[in-house]
């Protein structure tokens, strides 16, 4: 053994036996630290902030002072930083590696966007500040709106919806308002069976009956079935294009024409706009309303579940019904049109969807992203996103079943099924195996039209080297699942947790922390 004279070894002994990794007293594993709940480590007397003393005044709280203990633990600043830093390390993230969730467009989040959003001139503005003091903020909303209108070839855009599903709601409300304005009560929304769950949920949320449209064997909307169902009771058709099978709806334009001829409107779910930005304008396909997920195509960070932002581009027919508030340019000034001023020339607006003006913090980030790419860069975004997805499709379709692989090129995402895996092996096993290989799994079991679906969206911000490593991992896993490698069913082995019991969580929901009883504490 190599050793310094005081007895410190300077080279490791060769390791031959890796199976017997010893347990640790703490449960920690070096950099992988277990972390208790704040309720277990904090106390209601501890605080990480120092505030000025409150002035002594006679309380005017209406005799409603809160006397009970609230039960909110505090930590010192250093403990707080450690708590959340330790927890953060139990998360996978784009910053760590490829995050190929289909339909989620997990692309790189440029940090300039974060810097800009935090400029005090944007971050520290009150939504009800006098308009003379927020001209730059209104200019940001207006400038972003112009980009979105031009990129989509539409007539206008409603900026206030808070996320994609909220944008769907905005579009359907505009459609309903337009129909009501012409005295045309219609009750049905047609939704393809491959649609995101938000589509039927949104239609039902604003009082519509939902009917499914079947798909053709090549993974697209059945145009004949759709046309046959159109009639005076159909208010709109909701179509995702590119669709959730990763295919472009070739017949979109003729579908739109048929829908319009039947007096209905076309809603396009724009979740997959990343595949066509700069290459196709939805306005040229006859779309009446489409939401744009700024947290997908325009790279505002997803933050572990949100916030998103879902501006909705509108056709000329729907523009008069757009929600309040919105920004207008009047000469060299920007004006926020609210209830106070809407009556004069926006009386048909269907009303307000949110308390204020939408996701300003996402607008600044999205505009920064858009200006960074420019018209040429955004077209390249779609090109590279589609190229990367097709590269994955064709690098794997010999080992994984690609149900629509013969339907032509895919768009921004490649779809595989569980066909051909060994008896008892599932898409879930492949997904959990990917975790051990250092990747976030793809979207699994969606779209519903494919059994054991695996929907892979690499996005344009992945290098070829990253794609090749992902392909290597997935080829290996496909081989193991086909060969019936039982070890795969135990995956993941190397994540902070093994597979979690979702059935138990749902059967006996524990949604908040409660003090353990004395008996439990004694265990």
């Amino acid at each position: 053994m190599t050793m310094l004279k005081e007895g410190r070894p300077t080279a490791p002994q060769a390791v031959t036996e890796t199976a017997s990794i010893p347990a640790t007293a703490t449960g920690n594993r070096a950099l992988m630290l277990e972390e208790a709940l704040i309720f277990e480590i904090g106390s209601t007397d501890t605080t990480g902030v120092d505030l000025a003393d409150a002035p002594k005044v006679e309380s005017r709280l209406g005799n409603l002072a809160r006397a009970d203990s609230i039960g909110l633990p505090g930590l010192s600043e250093q403990e707080t930083v450690r708590h959340y830093t330790r927890l953060s390390r139990q998360n996978y993230a784009i910053d760590l590696g490829l995050f190929p969730l289909g339909s989620c467009t997990m692309k790189h989040n440029p940090r300039l966007n974060e810097k800009v959003a935090r400029m005090p001139g944007f971050a520290d503005l009150h939504p009800l500040s006098p308009q003379s003091t927020v001209q730059g903020a209104l200019a940001v909303i207006h400038e972003l709106a112009e980009w979105l209108v031009k990129l989509t070839g539409m007539h206008s855009v409603a900026m206030s919806p808070k996320a994609g599903a909220h944008g769907e709601l905005c579009g359907l409300l505009a459609i309903r308002a337009a129909l009501e304005a012409r005295g045309d009560a219609r009750s049905v929304i047609l939704v393809p069976e491959s649609a995101h769950g938000t589509n039927p949920a949104t239609a039902a949320f604003c009082g519509y009956k939902v009917e499914d449209i079947p798909a053709t064997p090549d993974g697209r909307v059945d145009r004949a079935a759709l046309k046959a169902r159109l009639g005076p009771d159909v208010a709109a058709v909701m179509i995702t294009n590119p669709n959730t099978c990763g295919l472009f709806e070739r017949d979109m334009k003729t579908i739109s024409e048929a829908v319009h001829a039947a007096g209905a409107f076309v809603y396009c779910d724009g979740a997959n706009f990343n595949a066509i930005v700069g290459r196709v304008r939805p306005g040229d396909l006859g779309v009446d309303a489409m939401h744009i997920n700024l947290h997908k195509t325009f790279s505002t960070p997803h933050g572990g579940g949100g916030p998103g932002s879902g501006p909705v581009v509108l056709s000329q027919a729907l523009t008069p019904f757009a929600p309040l508030p919105f920004v207008e340019r009047q000469g060299d000034k920007f004006v926020l049109i609210e209830e106070e001023t809407a009556d004069e020339h926006h009386a048909a607006s269907f009303g307000r969807m949110v308390a204020f003006h939408g996701q300003m913090g996402m607008f600044t980030r999205a505009l920064t992203y858009i200006l960074s790419h420019g018209a040429d860069g955004l077209r390249q975004v779609a090109s590279d996103a589609v190229l990367n997805a097709n590269y994955i499709l064709r690098s794997l379709d010999d080992v994984l079943d690609a149900p629509f692989g013969s339907s032509g090129p895919c768009m921004h995402e490649a779809l595989f099924s569980d066909k051909g895996l060994a008896e008892g092996f599932t898409t879930l096993d492949i997904a959990k195996g990917l975790i051990d290989e250092g990747f976030h799994p793809m979207t699994m079991y969606f779209p519903l039209v494919v059994h054991g679906a695996m929907l892979v969206e690499p996005t344009e911000t992945e290098s070829k080297a990253a794609l090749d490593q992902f392909i290597l991992a997935l080829r290996s896993l496909a081989g193991r699942a086909k060969a019936g490698d039982e070890a795969l069913k135990g995956a993941p082995y190397f994540a902070p947790r093994r597979r979690l019991d979702e059935t138990l969580a749902a059967r006996k929901p524990v949604l908040t922390w409660t003090e353990p009883t004395q008996a439990e504490a004694a265990e």
Partner: protein, 470 residues
């Protein structure tokens, strides 16, 4: 004081056409095309009808630009605004400026939080999931409820979701909205009710020191699904909700309480402890910041017995295959991705990162810090209210308030607010802007005083009001 010239932006295309966020090289692209068996990227767009295919970039828009050029443009736009920190600042009415400790923003920018998705793969999302479990517990305790969800978009949409939830529970379609409910929340509910068929009862507030609790109680009938009351209300008044809860329950209706300033609950009783069945709120004032109105943080909590009618995501505790405690999203059979048109809501993406910011700030505060913060806000607000009430032409409406109160001025407050802004004072929110259809209350000015307001700021506002009302 603000230069109103908006700079023009021109992209600065580099000759070699490299875009900094796109890693593929031209040789990568060629190699990949040959694996795919396509001659060009254009061939991959073959399914797009030829007449809809754009042959080149969209005209009339600038090309890509360097980080420096973009930052310069955005910074110039930011400078066109008067931010809250640059002026004596008294705006509230649903969005509050509080000091957010530096570590909050540092921690939410960790890439593992910032650039993660919804925790659909729990084995590699325990960080987000544990935060949500802690957040749900903090929110439930703060609002005085049994359970809370993992967040909604904002207070206004959470408020509408609560009305819809009350409809599902009671199978009744008439909601009574307090005149003290934020008028934008009322607008959101009106927009939705027009399409869902719910009947909403609402009137604009009057300039009285007493709240409308008695009128609300009188309005409850057998068709009422819920009464929706804001606490403290839009004019800053605080009412005991207990009699209202009792009256609602006696008629088989629910009480929905709305909290737009959660810091208040460090000083005043929680709505859940006064009988509210559903408590929703705007969580912005803890950790999130003003951000010109969004993203904000919808809080949603209720009694345990209604949990399966709740909208939104829920995180629950469970164990993994090795028996270790872990967390997962749960009860998802309420949600759109499982139930589609039968879901309790269409919400998918929520306000995860804002929930994280809230939770970190709340952890830094702890109960002791929250109570101190609330006491400081109240103390400063009492001092400011008394000082401003001495200005000739100003009368204080409120007998009760937390950190926000209404002044009745001797003239329309809209004009006063605009004139104060021209003097660099952000003096409050006029009732005329909030309630354009109620000119009878147009002289009302809602003034918020948080720990960020100094005694000097109050003096500046008092003097400016004095000049304005002379």
């Amino acid at each position: 004081m603000i230069n109103n010239v908006i700079p023009a932006f021109a992209g600065v295309t580099k000759r070699d056409n490299i875009m900094r966020y796109l890693p593929l090289t031209d040789s990568d692209r060629q190699e990949m095309l040959s694996v795919i068996g396509a001659a060009s990227v254009d061939d991959l767009f073959v399914d797009v009808p030829a007449e809809a295919r754009l042959s080149d970039k969209i005209a009339g828009l600038p090309d890509h630009a360097s980080e420096l050029a973009v930052e310069r443009h955005m910074a110039a736009l930011a400078r066109q605004n008067l931010s809250a920190g640059e002026a004596p600042f008294f705006l509230g009415a649903g969005a509050y400026k509080h000091h957010v400790p530096a570590s909050v923003d540092h921690l939410i920018q960790r890439g593992e939080f910032l650039t993660a998705y919804t925790p659909y793969q729990p084995e590699i999302a325990q960080g987000t999931l544990q935060v949500l479990f802690e957040f749900q517990t903090q929110v439930a305790r703060l609002l005085g409820c049994d359970v809370a969800n993992a967040s909604m978009y904002d207070g206004s949409t959470a408020c509408w979701e609560a009305i819809g939830m009350a409809r599902r529970i009671t199978k009744r379609g008439k909601a009574i909205l307090s005149s003290g409910l934020h008028p934008h929340y009322v607008s959101v509910a009106n927009t939705m009710a027009r399409f869902t068929g719910d009947a909403l009862v609402h009137e604009a507030p009057t300039l009285d020191a007493a709240t409308d609790i008695d009128a609300l109680i009188a309005g409850i009938d057998k068709d009422t699904s819920c009464v929706v009351v804001q606490y403290p209300d839009i004019l800053g008044r605080i009412a005991d909700l207990t009699p209202l809860a009792e009256a609602a329950h006696a008629a088989g209706a629910l009480l929905v309480a709305v909290v737009t300033e959660p810091v208040a609950l460090g000083a005043i009783k929680a709505p859940g402890h006064m009988g509210a069945d559903i408590v929703v709120g705007e969580g912005q004032s803890i950790g999130v910041g003003l951000q010109f109105g969004g993203p904000y943080l919808g809080l949603f909590a209720c009694k345990q017995k209604y949990v399966r009618q709740m909208p939104g995501r829920l995180c629950g505790e469970t164990v993994d295959a090795a028996g270790k405690r872990g967390f997962v999203l749960t009860l998802s059979t309420r949600e759109q991705h499982i139930r589609r048109e039968k879901a309790t809501s269409n919400i998918c993406t929520n306000s995860g990162l804002c929930a994280l910011a809230f939770s970190i700030h709340m952890t830094l505060l702890g109960e002791r810090g929250l109570r101190e913060l609330a006491a400081l806000n109240h103390g400063l607000a009492v001092q400011a209210a008394d000082r401003l009430a001495r200005v000739p032409g100003v009368k204080l409406l409120n007998e009760s308030f937390f950190n926000e109160f209404t002044l009745i001025l001797s003239k329309d407050a809209r004009e006063v607010v605009r004139n104060l802004a021209d003097k660099g004072v952000l003096g409050g929110v006029s009732l005329g802007r909030l309630f354009p259809d109620a000119p009878q209350i147009g002289n009302g000015l809602v003034v918020a005083v948080t720990e960020t307001v100094t005694a000097e700021d109050v003096e500046v506002l008092a003097k400016a009001l004095e000049e304005e009302l002379a």
